[in-house]
Symmetry: C2
Subunit: 458 residues, 2 copies
Amino acid sequence: MSLDAILARIDTDLDPAIARLFALLRIPSISTDPAHMRDVRTAADWLRDDLASMGFQAAVHDTPGHPMVVAHMDGPGPHVLFYGHYDVQPVDPLSLWHRAPFDPALEETPKGTVIRARGAADDKGQLMTFLEACRAIIAETGSLPCKVTVFLEGEEESGSPSLVPYLREHADMLRADLALICDTGLFSDDVPAITTQLRGLLGEEVVITGPRIDLHSGMYGGIAMNPIRVLSRILAGLHDDQGRVQVPGFYDGVEELSPELRAQWAGLGFDDTAFLGEVGLSHPAGEVGRTGLEMIWSRPTAEVNGITGGYTGAGFKTVLPAQASAKVSFRLVAGQDPLKLREAFRAWVRAQLPPDCSVTFHDHGASPASRMDITHPAFEIARRALSQEWPGEAAFIGGGGSIPVAGYFKQILGMDSILAGFGKDDDAIHSPNEKYDLSSFHRGTRAWARILTGIAGA
Amino acid sequence: MSLDAILARIDTDLDPAIARLFALLRIPSISTDPAHMRDVRTAADWLRDDLASMGFQAAVHDTPGHPMVVAHMDGPGPHVLFYGHYDVQPVDPLSLWHRAPFDPALEETPKGTVIRARGAADDKGQLMTFLEACRAIIAETGSLPCKVTVFLEGEEESGSPSLVPYLREHADMLRADLALICDTGLFSDDVPAITTQLRGLLGEEVVITGPRIDLHSGMYGGIAMNPIRVLSRILAGLHDDQGRVQVPGFYDGVEELSPELRAQWAGLGFDDTAFLGEVGLSHPAGEVGRTGLEMIWSRPTAEVNGITGGYTGAGFKTVLPAQASAKVSFRLVAGQDPLKLREAFRAWVRAQLPPDCSVTFHDHGASPASRMDITHPAFEIARRALSQEWPGEAAFIGGGGSIPVAGYFKQILGMDSILAGFGKDDDAIHSPNEKYDLSSFHRGTRAWARILTGIAGA
């Protein structure tokens, strides 16, 4: 088997690979929106068919929510499980998109050619890099050098309600020597990275109820408690003046960064101001005294992701609403127990309710943070593979976002995960005008080919 | 002219009067919603035609916004100007209505027959009491005992942007000896009232902008400033722990209640707990140490009428939004300058912005509070008329809501206003399932007949 021949085939076949990705991007598989339920299944079917066309034993498995795509192909080397997700975020506000979010196109930009569409970077473009690597290896050699299981989820953007039950029920089918996960980013344009620690996520919706009906603020303003006022007070108290989260016990179990990692991260030369400058900001808004990388990689946070109450349409309505609600999320780090924090948060909110107000909570998922054991030799193989495709040397880094599946793979299947992804900070994932650099797609495919052949030979 | 004959005719003609009101209630004249612009005009045309059918010289006058309906009829006595408004509030949330909001019906309730529809009480049912009184007097006597101008507005629920320019331009046509305004309520089910002081209203929309695009809270959570956090902090600071508004200078010029009015209001036996109990509340939420009537009649307030930011749809989205906004209103009392307070509020908000955040404001109207000179003899005539129609003796009271037109009539046309209205606390104006008691409609019509004949003879 010649790695050079495989890489050459990937280069030659780039156009049809882009066409396949576009076909997948055209399917509006928004998992959080019930109106798109059938579109999510259509994306699953498309992936099953594509995997089957390469010779995988591929199937779409039903769950109580959106389906899982699972595909197997035997091989001589160790067994790897590849994970990606084929669902995408909602597209609102639609008015800010330059083109229709599900009409993908290549666009020339000052920083190179990009693939523009919802899901281009998160995560359809990324998962297709692995499938294209497999396709090239199979085309060139007739088989894969490792035993490969592909496992694609359709609920990653909506809290993965079916994932844990599915992993528990199908543990024997899915357990491998190592997981490969493609849902992360480069450290910078020229420096690839393998993410070895990830924050967890706790999602809560808080609904405050005051009067039993909406009231006229002329008749009741001044005497009736307004739930927006109550909610604002509670949310305003989430952080103190130093940016520290005020839920009791929130920092219990949170460890300081090791001197080694602190030194390694300092060496990355991360520029807070440049990072924030790309999105129109300039001042780090987290805990006073922490570095920017700590704020996004190793410190837990509290954020309000949505708030609504009263009249929010055009014009003005002098109403005192019966309800106000907020979606609140916490990014968690190793040592924090999501379920304990959920109870602490709820108790903290309840303790602040004035007379006449009640609260209900809705659970929007809880996943712990995860840290990998980077002494496994495959981590160094992957680091070298990435270093060969990008100008800079690849680094082991932290990740601010949650990829709960990595934690579940460890807990339920006993596997570590290599989190190698090729997104960039300006990809606008979860925002209007999401894109994925064509160079990320191309180099990523080549990197997976190197990793698979490398692991096989290790 | 026999008052008894006029009252008898009102009783006999109640059914056709209800049918006329229903025709008006079927027109969805929501002035704040651009989608209903034509409906607002349809309501104006309907009223013009109805007034013309009685013999008024009636016309619909264009403005830059919604039109004014103006009608004149000569008479021997003093000149009165009647004011009402034919626009209505939005109907959201529609799901809470028991029947379609613009499909009026009589409903039997444990407390008597009610007219159920958006606008039944605010203000179509109320304005029709005056028109029905005129119709009965004209039918019985062939003319009116006073010179009457009817002036009906279509922008009252959306800040009345055209009112002041219109009053200034048409002052000579509209100036009368006295204004009669029907847009207020009874003091209690059996005790009618004339409102002699009304709070003003200042409406502001605050839009806080942070990052230039929506951000992923995994990538940016902890380092990027979240505009919802900033907005929550500002709104939470609107009141101190004693319920006092914290905008600097807010209480400048606010007078304490006179001992006479304090004694009169105490004599009304207002029950805070019962008043709040009707809407599922029990604790007065205003300034500590103030009575419930002070909180709603003579003390200024700050309220958040609407708030929105981030993802508010079904499910969850881990977004840090670029913007968050709130609609904030202030109820004002005599002595407060709305325009000065607008600037004070804006300066107070700006002073609290952290780095990286900006704010824009949208003006949603500003009207001062008003107090009437109740020594004018017509006030006592009206008080007696109301006392004859309801079981209890009528009282001079305050009003918590804004009826800015009363202030403008004083400032621009030099007229005092008799604010006699027949709404009840449980009318659910501005809420789902608005209603107007049939007894209010019937007694109100009779009361106006008494007032018009009384003023003519004074």
